[in-house]
Symmetry: D2
């Protein structure tokens, strides 16, 4: 058991708070001999970086990653890879209000009840800044799963969904919303900007797909690929739901509608549909692995909300400061990282038990 | 890492296949001195037992549990509790078709690709019979969390949802659907029976609530109460999605709609709402912990589905035999068990780090 | 964390008490497709079985193992293998004395202080009967490590050591002491018999060697092959010390005496010595892996020893009943099992990280 | 499974190589609210620091620790504590020889066979510099176990043992050998200096005792206090053996000689002896916990040793550079740290299962 680690064989641990000197991750169990430098990691951090548009928090963090161990002459050595990102833009603001009163929807009250006190500066450990460490670790995971491609996008903001018929993967990096539907992206400009100006916030749904996952990753019962993805996604700040394949919609289908027929193919079977999202019995089938993740609206809003102080007195709170009007947007690189991290771990676990890299003992 | 274990400090491992001689669980880490006998476990197994109405599979299993270790003079000793349930009604049918061709939606193909072969009798390890072992372990978990009450119910079958205004907890055990809305239960009789007669199947959504959970259980990042519940639920056969609190619906709310205001109360704070489902920052707040779980329609149906044989030849398959027309129904005791198992584990982990049983270091 | 499990990827959990209905093990993570039946396990249990000579306890247990899951058509399926051994010869004796007073050197007092009470019948969970479950699991581990041969023997009883110049592996199964030196075995007959008649007991040292371990198993820091062997051996009842290679004697050598020179060989390097016991930096070198384990004399003796009752009153205790005059003797199959279990686990972990079975990425 | 982590509930992970920019540890699971600053850690690092006498390596490292997370306003927050120590004195020497040929007794060959290549600068991850991270983590562990005192000392160098009758704890920090016997310390000056001048090296035995450990820490089978200590000690570089209590000597005692009689005492029982080293059945008894650890002589010596190159050619090697003539000496703070780390972990695990801090459920 480790409260701040994730994974079994490809395992990473993160540390750091929003306003501490730095944050980081230690990646353990990485196979040796993989080409790795900061340049492999930085682009993913850059994609996650705040302050890149008016639709995200204005905190300016360069998020420059340093590799402190585990790499020699440009290759992983098989020993732990320590990654560090310095915090630069911790604004020395007045935290007396947050220290005194609980922000509803934030971890403030729960931390105080659990630990007796809390680092209230920027949310401390509960800040979404922790996800930078995951994104860095995820970049290494991508190298481990080689041929697998992982792509996420925002599928819905504030209830306004993309149109699947306009899905264009090229669009995702063309707009500040990681939106694959150019038209939806334009609508969201207005939507998110209005929320921002109102001091309100919006929720979002992110979709993620991994292609090239060989059949055989996962395990029947308590290490199901599905359950590993579910826990991975639900560790991300602000997530409230996760579904694999058709998910909740599958609960409204009949058995014959939900079937994924199999047909002979040139290179293994072909599937007539992918309602299951690429898994069966907890194990990958070779189809794309697909999940969706629900992000709640950012809890930090300018509308006053009833709350109490540490001493139990009634008060109201307004969360000023630099916040994302839709925290889900910046979740895209994090969701991708978590998917890559789960898959890297599953690959190594499959190897351990079955002696191959998946796809069947040919 | 253990593929067939769940939990960190209160940990259980299950074993057994659908058509083997028995199945069971080993519960490790249980506190000593707890009163425990088979009679504490059997009622939960009886609730899950198949063959109790025409709406579930007709396999008749007494599911009598035996405690083989870890209890002395009626109390847990702190050593592992071994639970065994014998399989009685493994019908000696002809499995040649299932052995040869893959049933879409089942684990057949994935197992073959992963392990090279599979125990095809009744689905082997992928059978929902494994959940009997969880339910038995869950009965022990309930004893560990003492004052916490865990209740689940079916909230929706085949897209037909209960009416919250007719919610009556007393109803849940009054009908074969674990349905808290008597009127919905009546509609479901027709709905499920028709699916059964059609050889079709229906999905379902189960809701689960735990009351009496003290503030403080869970941990900030990779042992969030949310992520532990998510993984627990997604290890159950046929689940495709999980949400905490408002879940996916929260992604469509604005920040001010989704806030759970706090007010001073006589005994700790009172909350104006529970959109969050009882957690904040991954830690329980003292509010009821609430989740919903999506079950896909049973994959075993009488409609022929295209598939392939082990040799890659095209064929069609019809899954005869004894099956649940809506596997979600029998998921209710399993969802309750998993919730109890997560909470017991979280209680012990909280104790380890914080030295109390939760609710704050008073 | 699991108190009653061992191993990371090839992991087993044991359960059961001396006087409960049965004891057993669940082996998780076993590779699929391995030929396995009870007949592969029984011979190792038979070697460990009590009551086979006057030099061991007279408890008569057939120790018949049953495989309850994880094997189909004679092969492991990759799912958990549940092993059960029924207890048959729990003599219905009077335990009132043991229940009331603490036997020095036994777990009685520690259990009471930890758990508040204990199953005092035959030592409950602290009985060496638990090792039957390990031996059964170890037989499966041997199959996983295929080409590796594991052999243990008694090297010393009551301070009387074997003469290395008379070491003959054939002898080990020719005498009731697992002694490779026929002359020492004869001396031990007198030595152990006298201790038995005196109501006294003797300690022993067991040596264990694994040949055929490829270079590369283990890991640099906290999963060293050395530390995994050390913990494995120290979990066996009555063990008080473990050493790898020359062990404590190495602490009395100078650097040049302790060096294991390397020379070019036909098939990899040849080593001029094996002071290190087959590991360097925590990783196997391809040389035989060698360790020694110290067993204390059985604590159950007929000489009265001062002790206290549960109520803290002074008393004397004499441990009557069926006991081993030298518990170390029957440790041989257990030490072998633990070595095999460690190596199987290391093999799978090496596979996970490095993608081969050891011996170098050729 | 994590190759570079240790502990279950109080868990630390280390990272870093001898010649990388830094090394460090992440401590996870630490209870909240503990007073902690760098000043609590530094003295232990200073005790371990190299270059303090001519009897240890001349590498000069300030070993200044920085706390990067997990502490707020002088107290632990319950979130991970990241510790970093920069490497300063990595001498830019010529490593071409070490890169090419294997140093017997070092990890060189094993790493190459496992990972395919290695960071050969100063031994990379296999360098004893890693132990600085443990010592830092150990300082935090000491705070967790509060009342427990942990003391280690060198009991023997090169076969020359201290005289127990001259044991004086005050002496340990009065000489460069952590020797409690002033006379032995004087003999060791000559002994170690001669070995140093000869380019040879000596082994050592370290003893460690923890007093104030309450009864009840540990667990019956695979989390025995004994086995946890054994694995902890055997993860330290250059260790080859570990024993609890009388250890190997117990194997030469008779049952009645090895008994630890119990007598009524004012505050719990009193024990007539402590052959067992403070544990029974894997659980602490309240007596001092005692172990001894064997360190081999440093493998780096000036005597030429036969070896092979990476290409399998015969050659000789002489290990120049800055080395400890007796690496065991500097093991004292490391052994103490590991003992403290094991005990902190056991305390939290005991809490989890039994709900108290040990000493019995009074």
């Amino acid at each position: 058991m480790s409260f701040n680690s994730f994974g079994h064989m490809f395992r990473f641990s993160t540390w750091g708070e929003s306003h501490g000197p730095a944050l980081g991750a230690v990646v353990d169990g990485c196979p040796p001999g993989i080409l790795l430098s900061e340049a492999d990691i930085q682009p993913f951090l850059d994609a996650r970086r705040p302050g890149q548009s008016k639709y995200t928090t204005q905190r300016k963090e360069p998020d420059q990653v340093r590799i402190l161990s585990g790499v020699f002459e440009g290759r992983t050595t098989g020993t732990p890879i320590s990654l560090m990102i310095e915090n630069v833009d911790q604004r020395s603001k007045d935290y007396s209000e947050v220290a005194k009163a609980y922000r509803p929807g934030h971890a403030d009250y729960a931390y105080d009840r659990k630990y007796g006190f809390r680092d209230y500066r920027g949310g401390g450990r509960s800040s979404a800044r922790e996800t930078a460490a995951r994104v860095a670790a995820g970049a290494i995971a991508r190298k481990v799963i080689g041929e697998v491609e992982v792509h996420a996008w925002v599928a819905e903001i504030g209830g306004d969904a993309i149109d699947p018929s306009r899905f264009d993967p090229e669009q995702v990096l063309q707009n500040p919303f990681f939106c694959p539907d150019a038209e939806a992206a334009r609508r969201w400009e207005t939507l998110v900007d209005r929320a921002r100006k109102d001091g309100s916030s919006l929720g979002a749904i992110i979709a993620c797909q991994a292609t090239g996952v060989p059949a055989g990753w996962g395990a029947p019962v308590y290490a199901k690929l599905d359950s590993e993805i579910a826990t991975a996604m639900m560790t991300i700040n602000a997530t409230k739901g996760v579904e694999i394949g058709d998910g909740f919609a599958a609960a409204r289908l009949r058995g014959e509608e939900n079937a994924d027929p199999m047909l002979p193919g040139d290179d293994g079977p072909e599937f007539g549909a992918n309602h299951a999202g690429g898994t069966a019995g907890g194990i990958s089938t070779g189809q794309p692995v697909f999940c969706r993740v629900a992000f709640k609206p950012t809890s930090s809003i300018l509308t006053p909300v009833d709350t109490i102080t540490r001493d139990g007195e009634a008060t109201e709170i307004v969360t000023k400061g630099r916040h994302d009007p839709c925290v889900g947007i910046r979740g895209v690189p994090v969701v991708e990282a978590m998917m890559a991290l789960v898959l890297a771990d599953q690959k190594l676990m499959h190897r351990a038990q079955c002696g191959d890299d998946g796809g069947g003992p040919d």
